[in-house]
Amino acid sequence: MTPGQVNALAASLGLRIHSEDLDGVAAQVNAWLERLGALEALIGDAEPATRSEPERGT
């Protein structure tokens, strides 16, 4: 996400990001989103696409 996109998202949540914080916040958001990929991949590998039998309900 660009700093502009981060700012817009924050504004939609009622948050104001001051210019002194914007680059730092954007860098953190992007770093975590990047790392999220590895977590999602690990979970995806570990779980079948369909739910297991006991969870289907009756």
């Binding site: 924050a10 730092g24 953190q28 999220l36 977590l39 979970i43």
Partner: protein, 459 residues
């Protein structure tokens, strides 16, 4: 009995008070005197409750005069991290946002008082417990008693420094991703994070609801066990045998965690593992796969939970936070819900993985911190051949253990260039007693718990 709250154990103080060889007033007076003399150099306390503490100590003595039974913490001076409610005192969390006096003691504080503990004050912390240095723009930096130019760690840095410097016999800290264990390791004391949910978090300002723990910080494992028992009155609790035996205990050394540490730190922990092996433990190497990814899972839960709690103030008073905490809270508010769910699903996978590992071993061990305490002004530290930002380096893999909700204790295991380091012992959930027993068995065979930092010189 020579009165020295700075070096006496919790049990020794309580026993001495109970048999009237020293009064609670004398013990508490000694602790308050040390705080007056030494805390200006450390900045461990945000509030000192001199009058209240002496009044409570007089009540303990008066009850003994009347022949009443005294509790296991009779007259023991205890400090409380300023994120936990103490009746009549503001719970400020190292912030300028919270100022209101707590109406009641948090249940964990009430339990300690019921056991005879004397609350001598509230301790400094990283703002809202959201950081690992206790460099706080509002309340000042807590300094490490072993080297005043270095951090005490955090977020329970004030509690760790106060116990290490002998300003009290024990303290309460909170631990969301390592905040009891990290400062305990950096200050050379024992820090115990019990199983998630085993100690009440009522009356504790949250950092992340599903990850927060309250734990004791002490100079010995036996003291941690006494404190933990007092924190859990009325609960089914298997008291540990201290010092315990490790004969036949299966100890798994988390090899990737050890190899991530600075070589000098890894060496001390390897020595400590040899001590356990020499005492009869069966040591094997364990590989916990995907440690980095589990750390991400932790963050995906901690970040949004912290931001959700702070959202109303982030909208209206963002400027009142320190820069590091504000930026972290803002970033957490912007992560998608799918990230939080990925974190929760990751937590389940991690617990499954640990269940498999704990079928092969009884406890896991690893370095609590990857490096010793760094200078206060440092932003990056060198770990082996890598430069890491301070937060990542000191959190290490502690968040992974928090994510699993497993009990974990940091015990001092030696020094690197005059600075203490700790070994972490991790157990199955609800096997807190076993963790304490293994820690006590190690401690009984090493001299580290008897080492004390020199008293800081007043300015």
């Amino acid at each position: 009995v020579s009165i020295n709250a700075g070096s006496m154990s919790v049990s020794d103080v309580a026993a001495s008070v109970r048999r009237r060889s020293v009064s609670a007033v004398e013990i508490v007076g000694d602790a308050l005197g040390r705080i007056r003399r030494l805390d200006p150099a450390l900045n461990a306390f945000t509030v000192v409750l001199e009058g209240d503490a002496l009044a409570a100590a007089r009540q303990v003595d008066a009850a003994l005069d009347r022949g009443k039974a005294a509790g296991p913490l009779a007259g023991v001076p205890v400090a409380v991290k300023d994120i936990i409610d103490v009746a009549g005192v503001p719970t400020a969390c190292g912030s300028t946002i919270l100022k209101d006096q707590a109406a009641h003691d948090a249940p964990v504080v009430a339990s300690l008082r019921a056991a005879g503990a004397i609350i001598v004050g509230k301790t400094n912390l990283h703002e809202f417990a959201y950081g690992v240095t206790t460099i706080n723009p509002h309340t000042g930096t807590t300094r490490n008693p072993w080297d005043l130019t270095r951090i005490a760690g955090g977020s329970s840095g004030g509690s760790a420094a106060a116990v290490a410097a002998g300003l009290c016999c024990a303290a309460l800290g909170t631990d969301t991703g390592g905040s009891v264990r990290i400062p305990s390791a950096l200050c050379g004391i024992v820090g115990f994070k019990p199983t998630y949910g085993s100690v009440s978090c009522r009356g504790v300002v949250p950092l992340a609801w599903s990850l927060d723990h309250v734990g004791p910080m002490t100079r010995t494992v036996a003291d941690a066990a006494v404190m933990y028992a007092a924190m859990n009155p009325g609960r089914a609790y298997e008291a540990p045998t201290v010092p315990g035996s490790v004969t036949g205990t299966r100890v798994g050394l988390i090899r990737p965690w050890l190899e991530a540490a600075a070589p000098e730190v890894a060496g001390r922990v390897a020595d400590a593992v040899s001590v356990l092996a020499g005492a009869g433990a069966e040591v094997t190497d364990i590989d916990i796969a995907h440690l980095e990814t589990w750390r991400t899972a932790f963050a995906m839960i901690q970040l949004p939970e912290a931001s959700a709690f702070h959202l109303p103030w982030l909208r209206t008073r963002a400027g009142d936070y320190g820069l590091d905490v504000r930026q972290r809270l803002l970033a957490g508010a912007l992560l998608p819900a799918t990230a939080y769910l990925a974190g929760q699903r990751g937590r389940t996978r991690l617990r499954d993985a640990l269940c498999e590992i704990f079928a092969r071993v009884d406890v896991l061990v690893a370095p609590t911190v990857l490096v010793p305490a760094c200078p206060i002004s440092t932003e990056t530290v060198r770990v082996g051949f890598k430069d890491m930002d301070v937060r990542t380096a000191f959190m290490g893999f502690n968040p992974v253990i928090s994510l699993a909700g497993a009990p974990a204790i940091s015990v001092p295991c030696g020094f690197v260039a005059g600075l203490p380091v700790g070994m972490e012992i991790i157990g199955r959930r609800f096997e807190d007693a076993r963790v304490l027993e293994v820690a006590a068995a190690y401690e009984a065979r090493t001299p580290w718990s008897t080492h004390r930092p020199p008293d800081p010189r007043p300015d």
